[in-house]
Symmetry: C2
Subunit: 412 residues, 2 copies
Amino acid sequence: MTSAPFDYAPLWPAGLPAAAAKWTGLARYSFVGGNNDAEQVPVADLTAAAVSVLTREGHMLATYGLASGPQGYLPLRDFLAGKLKRDAGMTCTADDILIVSGSLQALDLVNHALLARGDTVIIERDCYQGSINRLTRMGVNIVGIPLDGDGMRMDSLAAALTELKAKGIQPKYIYTIPTVQNPTATIMPDSRRRELLALADEYGVPVFEDDCYADLVWSGERPPAIHALDGSGRVIHIGSFSKSIAPALRVGFIVAPWPILSRMLALKTDAGSGALEQMVLAEYCVPHFATHVPQATRGLRAKLDTLMDALNEQFGTAAEFEEPKGGIFLWVKLPDNVDAMRLSQAAQKAGVSINPGPEWSVDQRHAHSRIRICFASPTHQDIRDGIALLADICRTEFGVPERIANVAQAKG
Amino acid sequence: MTSAPFDYAPLWPAGLPAAAAKWTGLARYSFVGGNNDAEQVPVADLTAAAVSVLTREGHMLATYGLASGPQGYLPLRDFLAGKLKRDAGMTCTADDILIVSGSLQALDLVNHALLARGDTVIIERDCYQGSINRLTRMGVNIVGIPLDGDGMRMDSLAAALTELKAKGIQPKYIYTIPTVQNPTATIMPDSRRRELLALADEYGVPVFEDDCYADLVWSGERPPAIHALDGSGRVIHIGSFSKSIAPALRVGFIVAPWPILSRMLALKTDAGSGALEQMVLAEYCVPHFATHVPQATRGLRAKLDTLMDALNEQFGTAAEFEEPKGGIFLWVKLPDNVDAMRLSQAAQKAGVSINPGPEWSVDQRHAHSRIRICFASPTHQDIRDGIALLADICRTEFGVPERIANVAQAKG
């Protein structure tokens, strides 16, 4: 028998994604990804919840789905139904909810239930990279709608819907992150949500509402979910515990009417999401969620202040941004001569990771000089040091920010 | 705005699976599924492990992948590398292992990395329903190889490979469950594993080794994994903790060389499997796995005895089976006039769920009168009562087993 390495390459099917790179660890200053503040993980209460629920129901781990069926652990779905009513005005029951392995599995299930190669969808122009990548990989045509300070622009949406209709194209959905949009951090007001729904109704398009950051609003108050404003079942709503509790727990959820929820359930071929995570989360959230979130949010808000101070100090007027009302990221416009892709590469080499705008937008020109900076995970000191280093790199590569401006700014 | 229910049906892409049925709970006597014995879940030790690992590393939940990278929690991969060496003779390191959400996600990742519609694969004639369904859904041609008491028959495999080659068809893989085959419970001996590898080498085909039941051998000893006998990297090996610890924990693994592991990693779009489950499992398994498994296996063995006694008592010679050397299921041949699909439906109505053979085979005629009976989950008393009820239903529907034979058998 030969021991020459077996060559898999001739077996690859068409369209197989490129190989993943070997993981080399997080950058020294990591401003990417949805990682949380390690100090904000409620370790003691999660541990107590684990002891409590395992002692009481641990034997149920012998049964797939914990005898709650394939939609997920019933106490967690019951908690969610109450939370979504209280916080987002949504009317749903445990039967309308499918627990999934993070909102990323939710994205995949919604996409596979509705999309085929060549289909068209409408999304926000600047958008979560993972959503854009999934659509690109599926061969779906993306129409990007510009945003303003209130999120997706309704005039642009109306124009896009009209244009598509004129071409005989029926978009499969309007995807929006209305509450702390990724990456712009805008929050769509109630009135615009109603406009969006009216347009969706007029053109017969479902709305795909991704609310995964919605718990992280500084004021603690958010507009009703688009799902809450709809009476027709056209809104598919997804959410996650990644941002509110801990991202390494892979627990998200889909709220949708049974005709499409049942299709997504058929596509979910993993015999349910992790039971232990669902059990511990449910046990923890019932008593603690409502008090934990404001505390975690205060910590995020403080880190945002540190980040904005550091940017003002190090970049001066060269860094333009709107102050977010919530979330974990800041969308920053640098001077036009800054190539964000090149900046990102140079920064990575120097131990600073940032998200270059072109990877978070469907409009490469618009995003050319923009970057996304995530601030939840690094310490306050690392935020200050990392942004100073980023400014140095930007200056070396592009001549901005000018040193004199920063010194003046720092002293000012 | 209309409140008429939104109709998703016009949006379905081609090939979308049928809607899942609403879950209606487990049957009164459930002899299906990989559910474990609730009494065998090591609740106290799992709870202690949760406390220990959360107290020490709970703050790591703030970071996707727990700073172990996308292949999964490093201590769990390290445990697996040692366990696979000790039990299965495999040589691999943590770098060769990808932790996944149960072996079902492993099946999906392997299939999506290698298969396209119209491809051909070789599997065992009687085979795990989930594997058959996945391949059917993907539009893949299945060649089923008959089994004997030592698993997949090598003369039939050689003939199939020759025939495919003559037709110019290159099979994408040979899929086998060599250690406690599902549903036949056969264990392929060392010598046959080497024959299989030699054939795979001769015809240039990868081997897809599914070892998810391999821990459950009564003797505690199993032949080396096919992966262990190969020096070329042609074997993709998958396994799971579902059968050895608890099925509701969705933790499985893939061992494969980097050229294909990196492709599967790129296809794994869920930002890692559940961290809490991985942490608790690693913390539990290092000290307890080696002692827990033999204890759990003794419990399974006792339930198998109860099942075989009940079948002998209730069905007499009408139920034919080989005594398994391990696992959680018995593959039973009933008289030829028994239509296993019809029996299964009648039994379901009466509160007894069994797997009809035709759903666990690619040869409908061969499997026509066969059923799979899972024995890990029901109590000893439920095994006795459920099999008695099944015999009654079989008698009513098909006239076998004859009552007189049973009475004689029961008294004998």
